[in-house]
Symmetry: C2
Subunit: 394 residues, 2 copies
Amino acid sequence: MASAQLRAVTCTAPVNIAVIKYWGKRDEELILPINSSLSVTLHQDQLKTTTTAAISKAFTEDRIWLNGREEDVTQPRLQACLREIRRLAKKQKSAGGEDPLTPSYKVHVASVNNFPTAAGLASSAAGYACLAYALARVYGVDDDLSEVARRGSGSACRSLYGGFVEWQMGQQADGKDSVARQVAPESHWPELRVLILVVSAEKKQTGSTVGMQTSVDTSALLRFRAEKVVPARMAEMVRCVKERDFPAFGQLTMKDSNQFHATCLDTFPPISYLNDTSRRVMQLVHRFNSHHGQTKVAYSFDAGPNAVIFTLDHTVPEFLAAVKHSFPPEANGDPFLKGLPVTPAPLSDALKAALAMEPSPGAIKYVIATQAGPGPQTLDNPQEHLLGPDGLPK
Amino acid sequence: MASAQLRAVTCTAPVNIAVIKYWGKRDEELILPINSSLSVTLHQDQLKTTTTAAISKAFTEDRIWLNGREEDVTQPRLQACLREIRRLAKKQKSAGGEDPLTPSYKVHVASVNNFPTAAGLASSAAGYACLAYALARVYGVDDDLSEVARRGSGSACRSLYGGFVEWQMGQQADGKDSVARQVAPESHWPELRVLILVVSAEKKQTGSTVGMQTSVDTSALLRFRAEKVVPARMAEMVRCVKERDFPAFGQLTMKDSNQFHATCLDTFPPISYLNDTSRRVMQLVHRFNSHHGQTKVAYSFDAGPNAVIFTLDHTVPEFLAAVKHSFPPEANGDPFLKGLPVTPAPLSDALKAALAMEPSPGAIKYVIATQAGPGPQTLDNPQEHLLGPDGLPK
């Protein structure tokens, strides 16, 4: 009986890494940013959130389980997503949808990440994109989902698309024009590779919600950046992506990461997401590029010490050798390299000398090799549902 | 014979710590800054440069010894100082000075610091202020010495005065109005204390001359700071000093240090002077202040990881106990506290809990306790000359 009444869908959604950073809201309630941003969607083979949403007439309340643990469904951002998806479902129903009852059905949601939460890997972006996508599928909503995802976590709207995605800040007070759109699909730049250097899996110190609010309130440099620096950078980054101009893409990516962290330091009290290992990675990248006389590798850091490295496929083996040389892996039995396979390469003595780095053993825990990937997916096999026929986690 | 022909003077000059930071030149040759700055002159009982300048008809060339080692006298900044002092001496002579020959005499200079050079303790400021002052005395020059000192090292002009000193950026192309002036003498705020937390005595990675040049060339945030942020901060800092408003003085000091380091991070390639220990000190200061519900302690960092702490005399014992708790001294026989004596104080359990710091043993090597002090001094006792009657280091 319960089974017959239950409609369940399971979806996956990707992590994205901004190369023009989002930091600061002009509207806290609607989650409208003070500047546009642009990101690369990472491949779900390595990093993804999986979410099952099930609705049933029999459910008496909305419930949600994250990584196997039930969470408070009344938290405001979750409520904003649910309210917004039901608004869209009702709008569609009144326009002649076939399924008039479902918008009022309660929903059960279960979600898991295949990577540690809150380690600076933008898990909330993948999580809320996946939630928006799964809710849309289960309630039969066909609209643009930017607003649903954005109300959960601003950068989540960028995880609704694959490849290269911009989140246009928009101008309207109601946020209707603050939407994500794809700049280019992942197939546009197949040589691009992404290495995530996991520096620490500890929970970060200042959450990004509180952090960016303090920055907006206290940093004059952030306001200047948003108004005067980012618009030109957005246009230039779109050009870099369209023309696959890696040196310019890499330089601008590094500059924008640095400027974001500069505005964090200009915040009062100051916010520091980078640590000494992050800074050593930055130094390694600059020395690697100097040695080659061109920008072959670029870093970007979000609200945590992990480094996200962008490079092209043919540079990966040599750069990984440089990483292992500078951050000798601890022999604890875990593989140092996860994700895409990399053909090992030796490190030339000339490069070793150019790096001139004191080795920091164990400072990088492991590396995830990945690439740009597609947007959210729907899984067809009911075996993959995270909720059973009773609407509870399996 | 040599002794009779030799005129020698020995002077001392202080270190200064900027609370509104100087970073960036609008004229590299004349050393004219892109913004005004304001500093506290530290007491020479703890930190000073001592310089002997001797002139003699018998000398055949200018020579200089720093910390006992002869250095290249042809380096441009040293030459600029020598040229400028001789220009002033000649000007004075033609105005009727009694000593017509001396401007053309060659000079021997010997200089020593009582603290490690190039450890981020602004040794060049004390060094060039002392050089300018000693050269002026030995050549009989009475002019304002801002330009002589500034041509050696911009911030050196601030070490020409005691207490609280502003370096007005000036407007003229020839730099004649880019001068230091005293805002208040050291006696104005006798309760103010300065603690230098020496994090590392290693030579810094990016010299400030090269660093600030790269910042001017690449950081849009630095240009904005210089034009739009600093003017109001200068006025506010002068007010804080005049009114001895420690909470406002401390907050602005921290904000300006943070903004300076933010512009370093916005430089490309980025410059990082702060390390993890610096950041832990910042965190300690903010938690200490939060616990007390007011700004009782402030930090400032120059081009290195050492923290300079400003506080009032009655707060020193408790803050020093907090430092020792968070950075347990290594028992290597050296005293942890140097300089002014501090009465030990216990750390309350409430404060210990509020700090919530993982101890970092040995991360701070030692602390120098000092206070604001006077400007350059002339030593009267010939026994203190660093050069002998033959004009060579003793």
